[in-house]
């Protein structure tokens, strides 16, 4: 694994910053239930995947989760753990699918794979490591719905931004 160039670090830093900002902005959007999210911050990590690769996406995602947790004061709590688990899982799924079967899915499709994996991983985490009761299955339909809606929205936004960023010719 080659070392990052200064240019790369700066670029990825910007992407991370965008991700964090989106995370903060989203926290101001009211939702009927607190655990339902659109996941706007994933726009930046998705773009990182599309423009660069899985490594870059993983980095941007991790930085966003860590700093995001610091900002909400839940750095060493379960919130952080869940976000990381969901983030890593979804990144692996997105990157993996993109690499394994290229050209099958578009931006929205990749985003959906990411959002559904994210929610599923978090759900399983909560089920097996925290609450340990099947009662939480009642939340699954709502969680999946928000993943579906969020995935489409995030994918659509990323798709719109992609050509603009591509034309800026940001180097790898």
């Amino acid at each position: 694994m080659s070392a990052w160039t200064t240019r790369q670090i700066t670029t990825l830093g910007l992407f991370s910053a965008v991700g964090i900002s989106l995370f903060v902005v989203e926290s101001f959007i009211p939702m009927p239930l607190p655990f339902l999210k659109i996941g706007l911050a994933n726009v930046s990590s998705l773009l990182a995947l599309m423009l660069f690769g899985m490594r870059e996406m993983m980095l941007v995602m991790s930085v966003r989760v860590i700093v995001g947790s610091m900002l909400t004061g839940s750095l060493f709590g379960p919130g952080f753990l869940l976000a990381m688990a969901g983030g890593v899982g979804s990144a692996l799924a997105m990157g993996g699918v993109k690499k394994a079967i290229p050209n099958v899915f578009g931006v929205v499709g990749i985003s959906l794979i990411g959002s559904v994996t994210h929610v599923t991983v978090q759900f399983l985490f909560v089920l097996f490591f925290y609450v340990r009761t099947p009662a939480v299955f009642f939340l699954l339909p709502l969680l999946l719905t928000s993943a579906l809606v969020g995935g489409v929205i995030v994918g659509w936004i990323a798709a719109r931004l992609l050509p603009i960023l591509k034309s800026m010719k940001i180097p790898r």
Partner: protein, 124 residues
């Protein structure tokens, strides 16, 4: 150049929509008119109360205490020792199948039907 929406995407979307709809139906068949509140900590049932009666009671979670309040046929977590207070922000629940979760404390508050069918009122 990666396209926005491929045929693969549409198929995926359709499949997911069916999956989600299916999950609603599956869960919906378990959601019944509820009037009992069940509190579980770490998978163990620690408290059972009737939605018909106003009560305020404490529950010990993995990280601290929570306060649960039942009022006018609805239940909510009113105080909790947890970082994000997701449980408190979930608000008041009253439908069979509704649940309130506090992940750090491993607490689940569920609404179910009473053991015997149709408890309607309390005298006394």
């Amino acid at each position: 150049m990666i396209p926005t929406l491929t045929i693969g995407d549409k198929v995926l979307l359709a499949l997911l929509v069916c999956l989600v709809a299916g999950s609603f139906l599956a869960v919906g068949s378990f959601a019944i008119e509820g009037n009992t509140v069940l509190v579980q900590v770490d998978g163990r049932t620690v408290h059972k109360a009737s939605l018909l009666e106003n009560r305020i009671f404490p529950v010990s979670g993995a990280e601290g205490a929570l306060t649960i309040e039942i009022r006018e046929g609805r239940v909510a977590v009113t105080e909790a020792k947890c970082p994000n207070h997701v449980c408190i922000r979930t608000g008041w629940r009253s439908r069979g199948g509704d649940i309130i979760v506090c992940v750090p404390n491993k607490v689940v508050v569920r609404i179910l039907a009473a053991d015997k069918a149709g408890v309607r009122a309390i005298t006394g």
